[in-house]
């Protein structure tokens, strides 16, 4: 017995795919050994086709591993699927567990019945989720009429209604606007703090990983290539942020602090792009240095894309 909420040993999954007449074996997940402690928040990242969804399906009991062992909440996912369903909550960004033609609130009522929650427990939990995810204004709106941001919040509430110990989120913020992303991340942070919920998420958004995860697992072609903190990953590949500043007057060059580099300028020195490593220098320090040279009219900071980090790791490995 271990304390791990997710435990895989040599987990492998292959598929037979047809290419014209010939059949070929594709390894989707290759010898994955992963341990996640209860209460951790893990970002599971990799390029498209790296085997993330396949792993999640094996963790939930939807797919049977080709070889290797998997325990989720100490249960065998396929054999003990129904017990496991009470312990985990899953949000698939691309598929809905709500009833599209019903009011959002009625979907919650149905899920409460499906998980056989007591009316008192269901009401309390629902109230908590409605308040924290700000669902109140559209509880009577049919799901098909919700905006994407509203729908994702409703999906998260649906997955968490039965107080799962482990929440798996597959691309939860895909397609959301900045504000909706922010709301969702804040909610997940609070949920984890208050209930000790374990999070495992796949995402293309580095912001999700930074705000939510204290550990990053990076997979490439089914294999783990990094398992550790995001900082460690960033240091390995030099993930940096890009600050773009618009200045009131043209400045040919800027004096920048250590850890920041000048990436380029446009409009004859009116717009500059500056890269910096957030572990070594803060955005405020960079801004202060620029302000010393010219008045800053406007600025934006881009977070590095997960794809970008992944690409750099992959490149360094090949």
């Amino acid at each position: 017995m271990t304390s791990h909420i997710i435990e895989t040993d040599g987990l492998t999954r292959t598929f037979r795919v047809r290419e014209g007449v010939r059949r070929r074996t594709v390894v989707a997940v290759d010898d994955l050994s992963l341990r996640v402690e209860a209460g951790e928040a893990v970002g599971y990242i990799g390029a498209n086709g790296a085997g993330k969804s396949t792993t999640i399906k094996m963790l939930c009991g939807i797919l049977v591993p080709t070889s290797g062992e998997v325990r989720t909440c100490r249960l065998r996912p396929v054999a003990e699927r129904r017990r496991l369903a009470r312990e985990i909550g899953v949000v698939f960004g691309q598929r809905s567990q709500l009833w599209w033609d019903l009011p959002t609130g009625e979907s919650f009522a149905l899920l409460a019945a499906i998980h056989r929650l007591s009316p008192a427990d269901a009401a309390a939990r629902r109230e908590e989720l409605v308040e924290r995810l700000e669902l109140g204004e559209f509880l009577t709106t049919p799901v098909r009429q919700l905006s994407l941001g509203q729908r994702m919040r409703a999906e998260v509430a649906a997955a968490l209604l039965h107080r799962p110990r482990l929440v798996i989120l597959d691309e939860p913020t895909i397609g959301l606007d900045v504000l909706s992303k922010q709301r969702l991340r804040e909610f997940l942070v609070t949920e984890r703090r208050d209930h000790g919920t374990t999070l495992l998420l796949t995402t293309h958004d580095m912001g999700d990983v930074e705000r939510l995860c204290d550990r990053v697992v990076l997979v490439d072609r089914g294999r783990t290539v990094h398992d550790g903190s995001l900082g460690a990953l960033s240091r390995t590949v030099g993930a940096q942020r890009v600050m773009t500043v618009d200045l009131a007057s043209s400045v040919p060059s800027l004096a920048l602090p250590d850890g920041a580099t000048h990436l380029g300028e446009e409009g004859h020195g009116l717009r500059h792009r500056i890269g910096f490593d957030p572990d070594r220098v803060t955005a405020a320090a960079v801004l202060a240095a620029v302000s010393a040279d010219a008045e800053v009219l406007d600025l934006s900071i881009e977070e590095p894309d997960v794809e970008d980090v992944v690409r750099r790791v992959y490149r360094s490995r090949r």
């Binding site: 304390s3 369903a85 598929r95 019945a113 056989r116 009316p119 427990d121 997955a159």
Partner: protein, 282 residues
Amino acid sequence: MAESPLAQPVARPAPHGGVLAPYRAVLASRIRSQASYRTSFGLDLGSSLLVGLTELAEVAVLFTSVSAIGGFDLAAMLLVFGLADLCFSLADMVVGHCDNLPEYVRTGRLDVFYLRPQPLLLQLVTSDISLRRLARAAVGLVALVVGLVVNDLAWGAGAVGLLAVALVSGTVTFAALFVWAGGLQFFLVNGSEMTNAFVYGGRYAATQPGTVWGRPLVVVFGFFFPMAFTAYLPAATLLGLDTFAGLPDWAGWLAPVAAVWAWVAAGLSWRTGVRHYQGAGG
């Protein structure tokens, strides 16, 4: 290794409500939802009624030229048609959506079932109900009642009992056919029309007197897909008409056996299909 307190199985409250409560909740909600879209529901009912009527007309038209087909006159045919169509419509209403399995797979609804603490097949079966099929069931019911009235039946406990057994077994058999098809469709995602051959073909076969079939049809729709046991054989027993393949004249009473066989096959088909979907071989 130190055990984190969080990893201990949390003492979950015992499930609330009866085991059937989740299914009841979903079905009640589906019913409310369909009834609330009045106009489209009315249109659906109307077209479903029309489907039932043309199917009846298809049989009745033949009797404008002949008085009996395969030893069954119009009155006897009404009984066969009524039994078959009523049972099929009821099964279609309750489990007809199992036939749309490729869509459940494509849209991910099936994966969502995996995340809920109920058996997959039960969730699928109770995930929807098509009330509009009631209109078609009504056509079957009327045909059956007319058939019972115009035929010269020896009413008694036996006749009533056989009728009840036939109605229940027939509905259960057709329901099995839909699940049987669902299981196969895990393999036939782009060729799901294949199962129409025995689901809708089965319905068509069930409305026919088995006396018109040659040996291959007797094997396929008499026994393998036991369509003859849903309507034709019970009607033959009830009216004292010819049975096929040398079956005794009480063969109509075997309808429950056919229903059991159909569910054994459906269960195997579903199990194999799910194993294939999960990639466990099969």
